[in-house]
């Protein structure tokens, strides 16, 4: 299929992998991707299997479903249970457990929860059901925030009053900052998120190279995109450089998407702080609706518990998200916490590092053992 097969050529992959092995010369390197889409591609296509064993990919806080704290999910469920509300959400949010069940459970219990592929579909529902209140559960990084912004602008322009947004949009840069400031950090570089960068451009990452001397390569979502990004990172390191580079030139412009940023700026503003699951409170890391859009703000329209719920004690999502431990090093991975009965959110979304590992993990016990041995021998 055109525009897909070109990016999945096994021969080319082998050649680049050989070049990565030559450049890195057996030196163990750890790179973090901070985009759930990348994590998914890596597992779905078995990319770790193609790369030299000395390259270790760490799956950072890139899945918006995984970083949402339980308290916010409880709030969402409270709104969904309100009489007359049609609560709309992206599909993978449905199974994420709050402190007392998930949206899927609330739906089974009688709440009108529907999944949509876009906030504009939620607005369409509001037009079709003028007698009902339609709430959209807005989650995601700068990738999905512009579509929420455009939907809000349209709702205001059309004067649609039975529509509101429960805003949980987060921004990636403060999260990367938090990880870089973490004392247990052992990373050699970052694979930059493709779709987020399409919106925000390349400039916001410069501090990573300048202040922390870690290379960043913004990458696309096909297997060869990731493999090439790893090659570019290794090349920078072998040449002693730390720069922000763009592998995803077919989509990402250095300046980003000015119109999308404008729409976001017109509708949303930074929250003073926001809680990230596993990472704790991070300043200026999330967006809320501007006061001009108060009429469409579900947080103001509905009474929500607004309680902070501590993560289950056994859950080590935070360490997984920071790359301190691998998914299978978590105490409950694969035993109490599985995709069917997730405890931590990393297990819920197929983009979550734990679910991806559980579903697509290496098949061979022998290969696993060899790999672990090689990792444990690293200095």
């Amino acid at each position: 299929m055109k525009f897909v097969d070109e990016y999945r050529d096994p021969e080319l992959a082998k050649r680049i992998a050989a070049e990565i092995a030559r450049l890195s010369d057996g030196r163990p390197l750890k790179f973090m991707e901070v985009c759930g889409g990348h994590t998914h591609t890596i597992y779905k296509h078995g990319i770790e299997d193609v790369l030299p064993r000395s390259i270790d990919l760490v799956h950072g806080p890139g899945c918006p479903v995984c970083v949402l704290p339980m308290g916010r999910i409880d709030d969402a469920i409270a709104i969904a249970r309100t009489d007359g509300v049609i609560f709309t959400t992206f599909g993978d949010m449905m199974r994420v457990p709050g402190s007392k069940g998930s949206l899927l459970d609330a739906k089974a219990d009688g709440a009108d929860v529907r999944f949509v592929y876009s906030p504009l579909d939620a607005l369409k529902l509001a037009r079709q059901h003028p007698e009902r209140q339609v709430v959209f559960f807005a989650i995601g990084f700068e990738t999905t925030a512009p579509s929420t912004a455009v939907t809000l602008l349209r709702a205001k322009a059309e004067g649609i009053k039975n529509f509101s947004v429960f805003c949980n949009h987060v921004t990636i840069i403060p999260a990367i900052k938090a990880i870089l400031d973490s004392p247990d950090l052992r990373l050699d570089g970052f694979i930059g998120p493709g779709h987020v960068s399409m919106v925000i451009g390349m400039r916001p990452y410069t501090f990573i190279a300048r202040d922390h001397h870690k290379p960043v390569v913004i990458a696309g979502f096909e297997p060869l995109d990731i493999i090439q990004a790893v090659y570019m990172l290794v090349k920078q390191i072998s040449e002693g450089r730390a720069e922000v580079e763009n592998q995803y030139t077919r989509v990402v412009r250095p300046e980003g998407n000015v119109r999308a940023l404008e729409a976001m700026a017109r509708t949303m503003e930074l929250r003073p702080f926001f809680e990230w699951r596993g990472l704790g409170f991070i300043t200026h890391s999330a967006l809320k609706l501007r006061s001009e859009f108060a009429d469409w703000d579900a947080e103001l329209r509905y009474e929500v518990p607004g309680l902070r719920v501590a993560d289950p004690k056994a859950c080590q999502c935070g360490e997984v998200l920071k790359g301190v431990i691998k998914p299978w090093e978590c105490k409950v991975f694969g035993t109490a916490c599985t995709p069917e009965t997730p405890i931590g959110t990393c297990m819920v979304s197929p983009e979550g590092a734990c679910a991806a590992y559980y579903n697509y993990g290496r098949f061979s016990m022998a290969a696993e053992r060899d790999h672990l041995r090689s990792l444990s021998q690293t200095p």
Binding site: V4, G91, G334, T335
Partner: protein, 372 residues
């Protein structure tokens, strides 16, 4: 400064991790547990949640030798007869009722015919029960019933008994159909999901994911235009051709309906305690399905089919089975997609296009509405 752990500590840590991975592997092969307090849509997805429900509620309560095989159809002989009968039932709750390539009526006839065919049986008689919602247009009902009769005629089976119930408006979704079927078993050798042997070859009769994607795209929320059509079709003549030519070297037949090829193969691997290795590039997928899956973030291997079968045959019969399938109108795009191995038992894995390797798990429980 970092303190380097001693080699013993390191070895102990490594052992702990390896034990954990082994536990996960065990857990994957394992029994299914039902922990939910209420039915959710996941229980109808055909994947793990459905198995949890079946093994948590129905199987232990109804348990008997015929049911316990948990195959698509029960197979038995009547006293004193050397004829074997296959008996099966299935309910159809698809929305929308009419879609590209078929409708609920056609699906209800084909689905039950296929369940009988997968047991190696020639379908003979079907029943048809209707649960109708108050207010449902009679014209639509006529259309569905005519489509059922047409499908039955084409397949050479008769609908010989039935039932009708009406529920209040809002208590149904237009029409639900249940069909049951009886067939005469032609295969007189062990044939089923427990019969896979290391060395066997896995064949798929055509492209994966057509039905599920056609249904998803028929739902109004998705404005994606493709030429994807449901593949709904009766597979009994294709099965008859395979039984005739391959005979006892045919070890298992399964139609990958809900949960798709991935779920069907996982069921086989678990039931036979073998591993199945697949070659992603060998699996036929239509461009429209592939494109829709790329856009929606779905895997064609977990999407439902209604006119495809998986055949597992002894390796020496693989070429012949492939030729027979390709000679049949419903198997023109048939392909050998993988092979059966002894280790590691209960696991399905996939060599990806890019040359990597990964586990192919059962569908866990999708958030998508029902599709068949």
């Amino acid at each position: 400064m970092e303190v380097k752990p001693s080699s013993e500590q390191e070895a102990a840590r490594l052992d702990a991790v390896l034990q954990k991975i082994e536990r996960v592997r065990q857990a994957r092969r394992h029994k299914f547990y039902l922990r939910d307090e209420r039915i959710t849509l996941s229980h109808g997805s055909g994947g793990k949640a459905t198995h949890n429900l079946i093994e948590g509620v129905f199987a232990p309560t109804f348990s008997n030798p015929l049911l316990d095989a948990l195959d698509d159809a029960a197979v038995f002989s009547l006293d004193g007869s050397n004829l074997q009968l296959a008996f099966t039932t299935d309910s159809y709750v698809v929305s929308p009722l009419f879609f590209a390539g078929g409708d609920i009526g056609k699906l209800a006839v084909h689905g039950t015919i296929n369940d009988l065919a997968m047991a190696g049986a020639q379908p003979l008689y079907l029943s048809a029960s209707f649960i109708l919602e108050e207010g449902f247009p009679i014209a639509d009902l006529r259309r569905i019933v005519a489509s059922m009769q047409q499908a039955a005629n084409d397949a050479g089976v008769a609908i010989v008994t039935g039932d009708t119930k009406v529920v209040q408006r809002g208590k149904g979704d237009g029409v639900f159909i249940n069909t049951a079927g009886v067939g005469l078993r032609r295969a007189r050798w062990p044939l089923g999901q427990t019969c896979l042997q290391p060395g066997d070859i896995v064949l798929l009769s055509g492209s994966a994911g057509d039905h599920g994607i056609a249904i998803m795209l028929a739902r109004e929320a998705l404005d994606i235009e493709t030429d994807v059509q449901s593949d709904t079709a009766p597979l009994h003549t294709l099965v008859a051709a395979l039984l005739e030519s391959v005979g006892e070297r045919l070890h298992c037949l399964k139609d990958p309906t809900r949960g798709g090829v991935a779920t069907a193969l996982n069921e086989m691997a678990l039931a036979s305690e073998v591993a199945i290795g697949l070659d992603e590039q060998a699996i036929p997928v239509h461009p429209g399905v592939r494109g829709a899956c790329e856009i929606l973030g779905l895997d064609p291997l977990t999407i439902a089919n209604e006119g495809k079968l998986l055949a597992v045959v002894a390796s020496e019969a693989a070429e012949e089975a492939l030729a027979v399938m390709r000679a049949h109108p419903l198997g023109r795009e048939a392909a050998m997609i993988g092979s059966v191995q002894a280790e590691p038992p209960g696991l399905v894995f996939l060599r990806t296009e890019i040359g990597g390797m990964r586990v192919l798990d059962m569908l866990v429980g999708d958030p998508l509405p029902r599709i068949c």
